[in-house]
């Protein structure tokens, strides 16, 4: 029996994932049970799989599709297929193992932080193959790659996701104002299964201590009732109105564009110079788009 073809699918595969093989042989009329058996050996010569020909007779035979498990080590691997009989000549075939892709996520970062203050963010890692994060850690580095914090991922999956593991980390803002561009990186060294390193931007807006309070009162323009839950954006500051439609935003003196966006309302937009505590009243007009009936009757 001679191996005439080995189909490998996919030729590039994640570490530890399934590879489908389909082997064709010639001179396939078996003389005995061993003559219909094929052995798949890995790069060390160890038997990775043993299968019998599913179809044989006459000049050719086929194994049919069967699955073997890819190694955990990344790189190009050369395995072989041969008949089980001692005189069978091995036929080599190759495939490439790649590390599992990972994605790092950063969320819940505050829109701005005062110089030197501590703050918290959430960091998460998602392996494309949904590996559990045993021994995984995340590092936060500044723009010069100085390590600011290291945190180990927890065992729990973030709500509503099916494989995102996360950690909560406390960080300290620099003493210098401005937008600091940091990075969170998943360190995957030393893991049993090879994982690609990855990172995500963690931008930190550092501001000096505010010296004014800008109070925003959000009211519905038509019925004058307070709008609760309206988002107030006075970049880089943000707040949400309370049950009375009020949000107090502590800002540094200066000129700001104020946006107030209530649920289902057209955003209020205006520019203000804030040089002392002040209150503005944002009258929010209901987003009354023409109804389907009006448009399409």
């Amino acid at each position: 029996m001679t191996i005439s073809r080995v189909d490998v699918s996919p030729e590039e595969v994640d570490a530890g994932a399934d590879i489908t093989l389909d082997i064709e042989v010639s001179h396939a009329m078996p003389a005995g049970p061993e003559d219909s058996r094929l052995l798949i050996r890995d790069h060390d010569g160890a038997v990775a799989a043993s299968v019998r020909l599913a179809e044989f007779g006459g000049e050719t035979g086929r194994s049919g599709a069967f699955v073997v498990t890819a190694p955990l080590e990344p790189g190009t691997h050369t395995w072989s297929a041969a008949g089980a009989a001692p005189d069978s000549t091995p036929a080599p075939f190759t495939f490439t193992v790649r590390p599992h892709e990972t994605r790092v996520l950063v969320w819940d970062a505050p829109p701005s932080v005062e110089c030197g203050e501590t703050f918290r963010v959430k960091l998460g890692v998602r392996c494309a193959r949904r590996c559990r994060p045993d021994g995984w850690s995340l590092e936060v580095r500044d723009h010069e790659r100085n390590r600011l914090a290291t945190v180990r991922l927890g065992d729990e999956v973030w709500p509503r996701t099916d494989g995102l593991y996360y950690a909560d980390v406390e960080l300290k803002a620099p003493d210098r104002e401005g937008l600091h561009q940091w990075e969170a990186r998943a360190t995957t060294r030393g893991l049993d299964t090879s994982h690609a390193e990855s990172g995500a931007a963690l931008n930190v807006r550092v501001v000096r201590a505010p010296d004014c309070v800008l109070t925003v009162e959000a009211v519905d323009a038509e019925n004058r009732t307070p709008v609760e839950g309206a988002q107030v954006v006075v970049h880089p500051y943000r707040a949400v109105t309370d049950a009375h439609g009020v949000a107090a935003v502590r800002v540094v003196r200066g000129e700001y564009r104020v946006l107030v966006s209530g649920k289902g309302h057209v955003p209020f937009r205006n520019r203000f110079t804030v040089d002392a505590d002040m209150t503005i009243r944002a009258q929010l007009v209901l987003d009354r788009e023409p109804s389907d009936a009006e448009i399409w009757s």
């Binding site: 955003p267 937009r269 788009e289 009006e294 009757s297």
Partner: protein, 693 residues
């Protein structure tokens, strides 16, 4: 009745035929080879058509054949039947009503029509349902045919896209329409249609007076078109997540314009008319697409009839042939093709071409993109608005009119605020048999909701300021913000100042987000260079800010909604499972990262979003994608007709025996039902007056 040639039709009434059982019905069909109480016998198939029309063998014969059972077709059918004609309506769908059934029922007429006069006098409707006072003042209702005609041919008016909505209208067509508006309003009222208080005017209906009224029924313990009542279940108001087989879209509260307990929309217009039509003996051949006109000679002589093809629609879950809500008067016919002879006339009322991407692309090549259907896809099916009248008319030498007007109605195509469903037009919920075609009802985020996400094209790149994407220029109608300097009663028709350059520069108010959405991108490939699907991308925090309900029936696993742990996975899912996603969203992760940087910086250098609304990170998992749909709702160009709704050929001659109305005709840039009903009224009248051939 659809009847055998040379045989007097059996004019059974509604109640008589209602008593014919299904068993009897089938039995009769077996004997006749067809079905129905008043149908022809098999021998009719052998009857030869008149000389010159080829070898057409007629399967059915009636006085008036109408292609399409929507607002124009149904009105024409009743009118012709009232005048003594036998009438058969052929419709491609399984139920009657066309777009009218899922419309808002806003019938804008005028010229001093009976509802305007009723409201001027402060009276209630004749049944006394209306208890609220008129909404419009007397002066706003004081209309005339001459003023209506002037309004709808006014050369001076521009809209906020700086286009002239009225100046290109066919004058004879508009004059006849205006003269027939009062009679049509009365006609509709006489056929169980109840109109609420007049409130404004519909787009294209003129700027000078209030002329539009919506239709209503009263909630009650039974659904009864004669009594004007409907149950809460049938109206779709008993459960916000259910619609009914009777009302494919949920009816809306009309108490402000009628009285407590009033509900309305196209159901309150279409169902009463259908009921009346069936009661009067109009017959319907459903599941049948009108395909061709039969004329004596290819480009001369009378129109003799039509050829129609079986177009069955099957239930999306059971696979059974769907049935119309009412079935009395239905002609059961399942042969592939039938020829129907019209002794008097054929009326084309099979709609426009918004559902035919190949035809509509002559006006906007980017809208050849098949990812964007016309509205009401689930209810109407894929053969709705397929340009059948246009195509058939051209084959017998008809002329066209007003084709350019597709581009001059301000909302012909737009971006829907209802996301996550391909059929982004209606409020249909589970309960109507066609909901399965829709799969999901979608999430209507409103205009304001567009600040909560980024919108990306098929390769995952942003293309416009999201906040401005859904904005539409105002409708050009009374009292209006459509563009004229004088609003309401202050409007001066035919005044050159209406289109004075300085004024136009001041009033222009159109965002071109839709055009950016349809622009070519890296994934656009020859020969069509499709722009591809559009996606709203957002995160869990957006869901928590807005309260959007991302659950069935609003979203479903139907390729129009996706959720993933990461942006990369989201892109992969969209590429794998959306039917029109032809390329990977290869820039999506980069786009989101860039966007998050803009949020940190407080500025969007690409599209200046920071000016209009808050910008929010897309960072908190999981991540979501909802499809954004471009809707091409209705169409305006079509067959040229004269004031009698007769189709005119390329030499300006009437094509004998051929009428058309509604979206099948061009030269009348008026939106919606008001146009179609009056066209149908005129066509039905004139067709019935034709001598029998």
């Amino acid at each position: 009745m659809a009847g055998k040639r040379d045989k007097k039709p059996n004019d059974t009434g509604f109640e008589d035929r209602k008593r014919v059982s299904r068993r009897d019905f089938v039995k009769k069909g077996a004997v006749a080879g067809l079905g129905g109480a008043a149908l022809l016998e098999p021998s009719a198939r052998a009857q030869a058509a008149p000389q010159g029309s080829g070898d057409v063998a007629w399967d059915y014969e009636v006085d008036v054949v109408i292609a399409g059972g929507g607002c124009a077709g149904l009105t024409a059918a009743i009118r012709a039947r009232d005048l003594g004609a036998t009438v058969l309506v052929v419709d491609q769908n399984f139920d009657v009503g066309g777009r009218m059934l899922h419309s808002g029922s806003f019938v804008s007429l005028g010229g001093g029509d009976p509802v305007q006069r009723r409201d001027m006098s402060g009276e209630s409707d004749r049944e006394g349902f209306i208890t609220v006072d008129p909404v419009e003042d007397r002066e706003e209702l004081d209309d005339s045919v001459d003023l209506l005609f002037t309004d709808l041919t006014d050369w001076s008016v521009l809209d906020r896209k700086a286009q002239g909505p009225y100046r290109y209208n066919e004058r004879e067509l508009v004059r006849a329409w205006a003269e027939n508006c009062p009679a049509t309003r009365q006609f509709l009222t006489d056929n169980y249609v109840r109109f609420a208080r007049v409130n404004g005017t519909h787009g294209g209906g003129g700027l000078s007076r209030a002329r539009g009224a919506r239709c209503f029924l009263m909630l009650g313990d039974r659904t009864d078109m004669k009594a004007g009542t409907i149950t809460a279940e049938d109206a779709g108001v008993a459960d916000p997540e259910r619609t009914s087989a009777f009302a494919p879209v949920q009816m809306t509260n009309m108490s402000r314009f009628v009285a407590p307990g009033a509900v309305g929309n196209g159901v309150a217009l279409a169902r009463p008319l259908e009921f009346s039509a069936r009661e009067k003996g109009v017959e319907f051949m459903l599941h049948r697409s009108f395909e061709e006109l039969v004329r004596e000679q290819p480009f001369s002589g009378r129109i003799l009839g039509i050829r129609a093809r079986y177009s069955p629609r099957f239930h999306p879950e059971t696979g059974e042939l769907m049935r119309s809500y009412w079935q009395n008067g239905n002609v059961e016919e399942r042969r592939e093709t039938v020829n129907i002879r019209a002794r008097k006339a054929v009326i084309l009322a099979s709609g426009g071409h918004a559902g035919n991407p190949q035809v509509r692309s002559m006006f906007y090549p980017a809208m050849r993109e098949p990812a964007f259907p016309t509205s009401g896809l689930a209810l109407q099916g894929r053969q709705s608005q397929d340009a059948s009248a246009l195509i058939a008319g051209l084959r017998v030498g008809a002329n066209l009119a007003g084709m350019q007007q597709n581009l001059s109605y301000s909302t012909t195509f737009h971006i829907s605020t209802r996301l996550g469903t391909r059929d982004a037009y209606t409020t249909m919920m589970p309960g109507h048999p066609t909901f399965g075609f829709r799969g999901s009802a979608g999430v209507n985020v409103g205009n304001a909701g567009f600040e909560e996400f980024i919108a990306v094209n098929q390769v995952g790149q942003r293309f416009f300021n999201e906040v401005r994407l859904p904005l539409r220029p105002g409708l050009n109608a009374y009292p209006g913000d459509g563009g004229a300097p004088g609003q309401g009663l202050e409007h001066k028709p035919l005044d050159w100042r209406n289109c004075r350059k300085e004024w136009v520069q001041e009033m222009y108010g159109h965002d071109h987000g839709l055009d950016a959405a349809l622009a070519m991108n890296e994934g656009s490939e020859p020969p069509d260079y499709y722009s591809g699907p559009l996606w709203a991308i957002f995160d869990q925090e957006a869901v928590e800010r807005t309260g959007w309900e991302l659950r069935y029936p609003y979203v479903a696993d139907n390729g129009y909604f996706f959720q993933a742990d990461t942006i990369e996975e989201l892109a992969d899912k969209i590429a794998a499972d959306h039917e029109f996603q032809r390329v990977p969203l290869k820039y999506l992760a980069e786009t989101v990262a860039t966007w998050n940087g803009y949020v940190d910086a407080g500025a969007d250098p690409e599209f200046e979003r920071e000016v209009d609304a808050p910008m929010n990170h897309i960072a908190a998992p999981p991540f979501y994608a909802l499809s954004i749909m471009v809707i091409w709702h209705d169409s305006y160009g079509g067959l040229r007709v004269n004031g009698r709704q007769q189709v005119v050929d390329m030499q300006g001659e009437v094509i004998p025996g051929l009428y058309a109305g509604g979206e099948a005709v061009g030269g009348f840039n008026k939106h919606g039902l008001g146009k179609g009903h009056v066209h149908g009224y005129i066509a039905g009248t004139r067709a019935a007056e034709e001598p029998s051939a």
